[in-house]
């Protein structure tokens, strides 16, 4: 993660894409919501009072969910692949030979262009797989709201697990896409080979990064929530519990927002781990892992 932080510092242009992706996701959510509501309204022959003559078509709802999740995944993964490309270049070349401190630097710009052109199909394919799983989970969740059952509950839990695993797998596959420009299938085969040959230690290392990032996200949310609380009291919007609840809501939302932003940093960490493992033999991987363990535990003492 220290190396990932260095990569981010020397490629700050990536932050621009992270911010843009957030606003894009928000804009897409608004657009999709308008489309989904109006489509279901029209297809159901609904009236202004909310009653509908036709039952809701399940297939249409499912496709709408797929559409939503697909675009969201694509937006996020474009940033991830861009990050992987920039970090891969940074890893292979010393900073003196490249310059990527601005958002329009050649390294960042070229990596983004490759993600939006050569690798865009791979991004769409990987994102579609996760989107279908997410839509199925959402669909089952809706079914549970209408009539819950143990079977539906198990199905939703199972789909949630598959969704998590697919997202995790994609995260690594897109690193290969970003660095080497592989197709998604090739990248997937390489990820499986990587895990087979290098073991699951990477997962643990990645998990530690996530903990630190999540903590930072929570701290940002907490501080901004407290700012909101103070502002609410100062402006006189309310007092006591209502303002505190509003502040808590802000805390949670801010945490999610910021976690989305630092995912870029997590992408850097993944890329660096991949580069390290790919480039060096097993012995050096062990040295790196032991070094990380040693550093962390020594710092805890």
């Amino acid at each position: 993660m220290v190396t990932a932080a260095t990569a981010v510092r020397e490629n700050l242009g990536l932050a621009f894409y992270a911010y843009v992706s957030f606003f894009l996701t928000f804009g897409w959510a608004v657009w999709w919501a308008a489309t989904a509501i109006s489509t279901l309204f029209v297809l159901g022959d609904c009236h202004a009072d909310g009653t509908c003559d036709q039952p809701t078509n399940g297939l249409v709802v499912f496709l709408l969910f797929v559409s939503y999740y697909w675009a969201v995944q694509v937006i996020g993964n474009v940033v991830h692949v861009t990050t992987a490309g920039v970090t891969g270049t940074w890893w292979m070349q010393p900073p003196s030979t490249i310059s990527s401190s601005s958002c329009c630097s050649p390294t960042v710009r070229d990596s983004w262009l490759r993600a939006m052109t050569y690798s865009f199909g791979s991004i769409c394919l990987g994102s579609l797989i996760v989107a279908i799983i997410s839509a199925m989970r959402e669909f089952v969740h809706m079914l549970r709201e209408n009539g819950d059952s143990m079977l539906a509950c198990c199905a939703e839990c199972l789909l949630a697990c598959i969704e998590s695993m697919a997202e995790y797998f994609n995260k690594w596959a897109f690193v290969f896409v970003g660095i080497y420009g592989f197709s998604f299938v090739e990248a997937g085969q390489n990820v499986i080979g990587l895990f087979k040959s290098r073991g699951w230690t990477t997962i643990i290392t990645d998990d530690l990064c996530d903990r630190a990032l999540l903590l930072t996200s929570f701290l940002v949310g907490l501080v901004n929530g407290l700012v909101g609380l103070l502002l609410g009291i100062l402006i006189g919007m309310g007092e006591g519990v209502p303002v505190a609840l509003a502040a808590l809501y802000v805390i949670s939302q801010e945490s999610l927002l910021y976690f989305r932003f630092v995912e870029e940093k997590r992408g850097c960490a993944n890329t660096i781990l991949s580069c390290c493992m790919l480039q060096n033999r097993l012995y050096y991987r062990l040295i790196l892992m032991l070094y990380i363990v040693e550093c962390r535990i020594q710092r805890l003492q």
Partner: protein, 285 residues
């Protein structure tokens, strides 16, 4: 298919294969190829063998060409369909809603008279909502929102969020290691709190999981302090064991835990939701 470095066989060449990033060969004369260049000063360098001693990499340079084109086209097609649906359905819905509201305005007064008569009948019969009186000026209909203040607050929070995010990114860069350590300690505290709260609430399963994870994380964090911990470090895999277990538990989010909580959770399930209050249009006297 391109073969990455780690699939290399036993052929040890004297010259390395070119490093390829996104299909472009990187000038290896300018390549670090090591972690050492980015290590903070004072660390044990993770320097690696020179390239001449590395096994031959059999990677084939990938061509810079479009991959999985059909899926990209499908995505654009999907966006086109969404745009078409928006253009067609949103105006249709807006027209229906507009016409409906216009017609509804004429019917509202008659509906309210019906409600009032219904309430009076119930009062006379001492049945139904006899303790409630119709009052159109109830609390729910009179929620006032200070719009300028709300918008100001949202704008200020957005601005402060942007500033805080930027500062936090700088903090992440400067204190990445500290955050990892604090992250581990915070995980221990959270697990401990979760376990204790579950214990207080009488949820045995939650308490066992929470306290067990606390113990494992604490053991992991303290492992390096002892000679046993150092031995584990030398054995390479043992320090990770607790986190392997945590990962397996975590992998889940988790059918096992979820099912366990349902099965062994609160002894008395929550009471079914019943209609215990009148509609919001009626206010208690």
């Amino acid at each position: 298919m391109s073969t990455p470095y780690y699939n290399c066989n036993t052929n040890h060449g004297t010259q390395p294969q070119p490093v390829v990033v996104q299909g472009y060969a990187v000038d290896t004369s300018k390549t670090n190829g090591t972690v050492a260049a980015y290590e903070p000063p004072g660390r044990v360098p993770l320097h690696l063998e020179p390239y001449s001693q590395l096994p031959e990499r059999q990677e084939r340079e990938t061509d810079a060409k479009f991959r999985d084109v059909a899926w990209a086209l499908l995505f654009y097609l999907h966006l086109g369909v969404v745009a078409y649906l928006t253009a067609v359905n949103v105006p249709t819905m807006a027209n229906i809603m507009g016409a409906g509201y216009a017609a509804d305005g004429n019917n509202n007064q008659a509906q309210e008279e019906d409600d009032r008569r219904h309430l009076q009948d119930n009062d006379n019969n001492n049945q139904g909502w006899n303790n409630y009186n119709y009052n159109n000026n109830n609390n729910y209909d009179n929620i006032s929102v200070n719009l300028p203040a709300t918008l100001s607050m949202v704008a200020l929070l957005g601005l402060s969020g942007l500033v805080l995010s930027t500062l936090a990114l700088g903090f992440l860069i400067v204190a990445a290691e500290t955050l990892i350590k604090v992250g581990i300690v915070a995980s221990i505290i959270m697990c401990l709190l979760g376990g204790l709260l579950s214990l207080v609430a009488g949820q045995l399963m939650g308490a066992v999981v929470g306290l067990g994870m606390t113990a494992m994380l604490a053991w992991y964090a303290c492992g390096g302090k002892t000679s046993v911990g150092s031995l584990f470090l030398e054995m390479e895999w043992n320090p990770w064991l607790p986190l392997y277990i945590i990962f397996v538990l975590d992998l889940h989010k988790s059918p096992v835990l979820f099912f366990a909580f349902i099965k062994f959770g609160p002894a008395s399930p929550l009471p079914p939701v019943t209609w215990s209050r009148p509609p919001r249009r009626f206010e208690k006297i």
